[in-house]
Every structure is written in C-alpha cells, then in structure tokens.
C-alpha cells in the first residue's frame, strides 16, 4: 500500500514540476497570473502549488523507506505514479483551468484542441495507472526472492 502511496505522491510532484518548468517557464504558455482569476481560484491554486511540492518530498522519502524495508512492489509504485500524474493533470485541466478559470493552457488561440489533448492525456495516464494496479493485485506476489523483507538490520 505504501508503494502505491509513494507512487501517487511522486507522480503529483513530478506533474507539478513538469507543468511549472515546461509550460510556465520554457514555453510561457501558462500565465503566472490571469487577471480574471477569482479569490477562490487563487487559494485553490496556492494550496495545489504548495501541496505538490510537499507531495514530491513525501513521495521520494516514502519510496526510500519502502525500499529500505524491502516491501517495494515496483508495479504498484508505477501504477501509483501514473495515477498521480493523471490525477494532477485532470484536476488542473478541468477544475482549475475550466471551473475556476485560474489560467488557460494557451492564450490567443482556439482552446478546444488544447483542452481536449490536455485532459485526454490525463485520462490515458489515469487508465494506465489503474491497469498497472489491477495487474499488480492479480499477480499474487512478485518474484519469490522479494517476498522476504530485505534484512532491516542491514541498514546503516
């Protein structure tokens, strides 16, 4: 279960990081501030922003901890990662962009194709994550040597 959680948190953090660097900083498609933003939108955006940084840190440390305990199930972790990536993007693309109107993907163009692509990719990511998790839970256990906790006393 911690594998999934670690994956989800890391996924959220990674998606936020990509969003910030690629779309805000490199492409300048997203705006830092949209004059039409409401107060609620601003708070939601701030919470989302601060939360995604914390998710990144928590996800990575949790990953290290699960590995140390020898209970990491890679397929579950990947499943969680895709869920986190897709969940972030879908929430951002539907609720934040459309519902609250914090900012749009691009400015001065017809938005429809961009919105459909953005949210379509989000759904694909979510489906991938869900499939990985379903498969992980169907295979009873990963390969044999992994079942035994990897000597917690070894650490240090």
């Amino acid at each position: 279960m911690r594998s999934v959680l670690s994956g989800v948190l890391t996924g959220i953090g990674t998606a936020a990081f990509i969003d910030e660097t690629v779309f805000h900083q490199l492409l300048h498609w997203h705006h830092f501030y949209d004059k039409s933003t409401t107060d609620v939108g601003l708070v939601s955006d701030g919470l989302f922003h601060a939360g995604s940084w914390l998710a990144m840190v928590a996800g990575l440390v949790l990953y290290a901890d699960v590995r140390r305990r020898g209970t990491l199930v890679p397929r579950k972790w990947w499943g969680g990662l895709f869920l986190g990536l897709g969940g972030f993007q879908l929430y951002d693309g539907t609720f934040q962009h459309k519902g609250l109107g914090i900012h749009q993907i691009r400015y001065g163009v017809d938005l429809a194709p961009y919105d459909w692509t953005w949210n379509g990719i989000a759904v694909l990511l979510l489906v991938t994550g869900a499939l990985l998790l379903v498969r992980a839970s169907r295979t009873p256990r990963p390969a044999a040597p992994r079942t035994e906790p990897r000597t917690p006393t070894r650490t240090r």
Partner: protein
Amino acid sequence: MTSALPAPFTAAVTTATVLGCLAYLAAAARLRARGDAWPYGRDALFCAGGAVLVAGVAEPWGAAPPFTAHMLTHLCVGMLAPLLLVLGRPLTLLLRTAPVPLRRGLVALTRSRWATAPALPPVAALLDFGGLWLLYRTPLLSVSHHSPWLNTLVHVHILLAGVLFSFGVLALDPIRHRPGYGLRAAVLLIGGTAHAVLAKSLYAAGPPGMSFGTADLHLASQVMYYGGDAVELALAAVVALQWYRSEGRALRRAGRPGPGGAPAAATRR
C-alpha cells in the same frame, strides 16, 4: 522612494550577527576540545545564515526597483537566514556549553509552557504569515516607509517570526514538546499556501498606499513566490529526512535485540 533601513539598525544587526557567529564558533570549538561531536556543517550553516542576514539588511541590491529590492530583503531576513540559523542548532549548542547557572535557566525556559508556546508550529505560522498579510494588505507598509522606527520594528518582526517558524516546524532543538510530523506537514502546507496566495495576489494589486511600477510589482511578486518555494522545499526536505531517520531507528530497534537479549528498550526517541 527607496526604503533603505536606518543606518544604525543595519550597523547594530551586522555587529550582533558577527558577534553571534564568533560566539557560536568559539562554543563549538570548546565542545570539540572537550571531546563532544559537533559537525562542522552546523558551523557552516549558522555562519551562512549570519552572512545572509547581514546581506539582507545591508541591501546590496540597492539599484533594483524598490519593491523587488524590498522583497529580496524580505527573502533574506525572513526566510533564508532563519532557516540557515536554525539548522545550525544554536539552542542545542548553548544548552551544552553555557555556564551551569545559565544552563539551568535555559532548561527551565525550554520546558515552560508559556515560553515555548510561540514556537508551536500553528502559533509561529500565524505570527509569521499573519504578519506578512498585515504588512502587504493594510497600509502598514506605506506608513512604515515614512517612519524609520516602524520600518525597523517591521524588519525585527520579520526576522523573529521567520526564526520562530523555522524553529517550530523543524523542531531540531530540544524544547518542551516535539510536535508530530502530521502537524508540522499541515502547517507547512497551510503556511506555504498563505505565502503563495499572497505572493501571487501582489502581482495584480500592490500593497495599499504604495505606488510601485507594474514591472516592479510583477518581478517582486515572482521573487516572493519562487523564493518562498525554494525555502519551503528545504524545510519540507529537512522534516522528511527527520522522519526517515526516526523510522530507521525504529526499524533497528525492532530488528536487533539489545544487550543481554532484551530488545533495546524504547527509552528515548
């Protein structure tokens, strides 16, 4: 228009900081001479914090547009310097090296309810971020621009509140209660949100009573937003690392029998 800090204040902060760093180094050296372990990294962190603080009040970016310059000062004095100073664990050092009577007083202080209350993460966050909202969303900033005393007071508050916040959230030095990880993470989340929202809203509307240029406002807002991110990330990383280490200790305790076959008792955390 520039809001340079009063010269006596800058001089006082610089002197106090240099003396503080020297005292820190002397105490650490004494500790090591005595045979106690005290990582050099902490000396470096504390002195770096001192350097950032001095840079903050000396404002070497005087040529920057006024609000951006103010924000850089805010970043140094209120966020980066407190983080670095607290990472040096000055209170722990003081508790180990101070003369015994002083040490008794300090121990009593760190155990008393009223003295440690301001360092409780939610209280510290309220003092810190509440103060910022007051500063930028009431006429306080514009009033303080015309009163060197008030301006000085504002900066002292920014520094102290920043130190309290870092101190409370990181909980590295021993005080009465170490707040749980959940509370500290929640306070970081809410504090980070308050900071990000304030920073972003400054992009659209500057502090009341001030007339900064649009470009200045935009730059200052982004300095505050991304600078805040960097410091918040560092705070979160330190807290997460503490959790990782404490889990590791718990694992070792569970996995390894203590001396004499008995499991190493959980006498200390």
